[in-house]
């Protein structure tokens, strides 16, 4: 089931460049937490440290601790592959596997985990597509390529693929920035439903979106170009958008800079 994330003293680098500096926060299970902030403030980098995707980038490394309940993701001997099976991710641009059918896309993660029985796969694929509100649109063409769907459908297909392996946490890196408003709404509705089962963290440039979907909001900022990004504050979304405790947050959400 959904798990709590507890980050303490997390610093991430690209080679010698410090991208984010000393970030600590707690993310509650079965909630939606939004990361907002100007471009380059490190919110996506921070998101990618939560499932150890940051270190995939050449030169990427991390200091500090990320606790998932009582397990440190960065402890010695923890396999990043196992971490990524527990903490799923949805990307900015929909990226279904172009060579696979809709069915195979959803089943891809399950097959990695060794679920091979056709019956089990059928059940989980249907459940995941229903969970991603996509089942009714694709049930008659499961064997067609996933790349033939519209952008919004592709993104929900990617969400179905991510939730099919039953992760504890779902990370979303600007999942709607490549989508039209109607598809965006569909994904936002979906996020509201998914938080019943998963801990959800979403990076967004759209402040209304953060206000609409999230329970908690974290504001990131950077002192200047080339400076590492920092967490300014994290609080209940309502409070961030009505009465933030830091002046910079208010300036940002009211559009006075960034």
């Amino acid at each position: 089931m959904a798990k709590r994330i507890d980050v303490s003293g997390l610093t991430a680098y690209y080679g010698n460049h410090k991208a984010i500096d000393d970030i600590s926060m707690t993310i509650e299970p079965r909630s939606v937490t939004a990361f907002i902030g100007p471009s380059g403030c490190g919110k996506s980098t921070f998101l990618r440290t939560l499932n150890r995707m940051h270190e995939v980038t050449p030169g990427g490394r991390v200091e500090g601790k990320v606790m998932l309940d009582d397990e440190n993701l960065y402890a010695v001997g923890v396999d990043p592959v196992a971490v990524r099976r527990t903490v799923g991710m949805v990307f900015q641009r929909p990226n279904p596997f172009p060579t696979m059918s809709i069915y195979d896309n959803v089943a891809a993660g399950l097959r990695l985990n060794g679920t091979a029985k056709k019956q089990d796969l059928d059940t989980i694929v249907e459940k995941s597509l229903k969970g991603a509100n996509l089942w009714n649109e694709v049930k008659d063409r499961l064997s067609k390529p996933g790349a033939g769907l519209s952008g919004g459908q592709q993104q929900r297909l990617c969400i179905a693929r991510a939730i099919a392996v039953e992760p504890k946490v779902l990370l979303m890196d600007e999942p709607c920035s490549a989508l039209d408003p109607i598809s965006t709404l569909a994904v936002e509705d979906l996020i509201g439903e998914l938080k019943e089962r998963f801990t959800i963290v979403i990076v967004t440039h759209n402040m209304q979106q953060a206000a609409r979907v999230s329970d908690r909001t974290a504001f990131f900022n950077l002192a200047g170009v080339g400076q590492p990004g920092k967490l300014v504050e994290i609080d209940d979304t309502e409070r961030i958008f009505s009465n933030p405790s830091v002046q910079a947050t208010e300036d940002y959400i009211s559009g006075r800079f960034g």
Partner: protein, 327 residues
């Protein structure tokens, strides 16, 4: 309208008349001319080959397709392509069986496994392998490969001789066989296959690899899920390019193979021949008619290459819907 007010030499625009610059016209003429020239050259070659080949085949006293020996200069002329077609295809198949997995493996290592410090020198080394002239491969094959493959030949004969394929009729005979030729051809086509596959692997979108990683795929699973399927048609093209070279390779085969008009399943026996090898060996001393006969065999090689390419295109087109191109 604004033009005619600022420049009085331009006449008022007539309806539907496109104004073209002289530069455009010159380049249009040049490119159109080049295109037509290519077609003319192709047609000239095709007509020349066909006329000479038909002339030779119509005077053949053997069956052109099923005769083993190639005696185009005796009277009456008796020649056929059975041994040549068999040898060409078999040696190329051996080359592909060896070179495709190794080439794809090297390409994957360079693009996905090797640290950057190692990857670029390695890629350079593979390029260098492509720059070696085929005559040098031939000399190396005859002087080094043939004696050194004798041990492998005997081992194959002893343990896999029962398959027939690896049976060596005379164990003391040299290794100047189709099998050795296949190995040499594999080395020669390796750089093409490696380079083309490597380029395709590099073009796999990062997004697909990250999608697989985020699902909890290991490095090998990323390659299996995201890289290889995306690169599938590219690997086929790479293999076809390599196959094209293997089918047409001349000097290296002519130097290494101990040719004889024998068609045998025993690949280790020093026997057989290939189209290109046969042409290289016979052309110098051939009469006019003998040359026409050799041209006929060259035409068959051309048709085989064409068929292979067509088959590759079919394979690629059949799964176009799923290709990475429309991602």
């Amino acid at each position: 309208m604004t033009l005619s007010t600022t420049n009085t030499t331009i006449p008022p625009p007539k309806a539907q008349k496109v104004v073209t610059q002289p530069g455009d016209r010159i380049f249009l003429g040049l490119s159109r001319g080049s295109g037509i020239l290519l077609l003319v050259i192709m047609a000239a070659i095709a007509i020349f080959l066909t006329v000479r080949a038909v002339h030779a085949i119509s005077h053949d006293h053997g069956n052109f397709l099923s005769t083993f020996e190639w005696n185009a200069d005796q009277t009456p002329p008796v020649f056929g392509i059975a041994v040549l077609a068999y040898g060409t295809i078999i040696s190329s198949v051996i080359a592909m069986v060896i070179a495709v997995p190794i080439g794809v493996g090297i390409a994957l290592f360079i693009s996905h496994y090797a640290p950057r410090r190692l990857a670029s020198p390695l890629a350079y080394l593979v390029d260098l392998l492509a720059a070696v002239p085929s005559i040098v491969y031939g000399l190396w094959g005859a002087i080094y490969l043939v004696p050194n493959l004798q041990g492998l030949n005997l081992w194959l004969n002893e343990y896999l001789g029962w398959t027939g394929i690896f049976h060596k009729t005379d164990p003391s005979s040299s290794a100047r066989s189709l099998f050795t030729v296949g190995i040499l051809l594999a080395i020669m086509v390796l750089p093409i296959i490696t380079n083309v596959s490597r380029e395709v692997f590099r073009q796999v979108p990062k997004a697909h690899e990250e999608a697989a990683l985020a699902l909890g795929a290991t490095r090998w699973e990323v390659i299996r899920m995201a890289v290889l399927p995306f690169a599938r048609s590219g690997i086929i093209s790479a293999s076809m390019l390599g196959l094209g070279r293997a089918l047409g390779e001349t000097m290296a085969v002519a130097i290494v193979l101990s040719a004889s008009p024998q068609l045998t399943i025993h690949l280790l026996d020093p026997a057989g021949g290939t189209f290109a090898q046969n042409i290289a060996a016979k052309f110098g001393e051939a009469t006019d008619f003998g040359r026409d006969a050799l041209i006929a065999s060259g035409l068959v090689l051309f048709v085989i290459t064409l068929l292979v390419n067509g088959a590759a295109r079919l394979i690629i087109a059949r799964r176009k819907e799923y290709s990475g191109a429309n991602a």
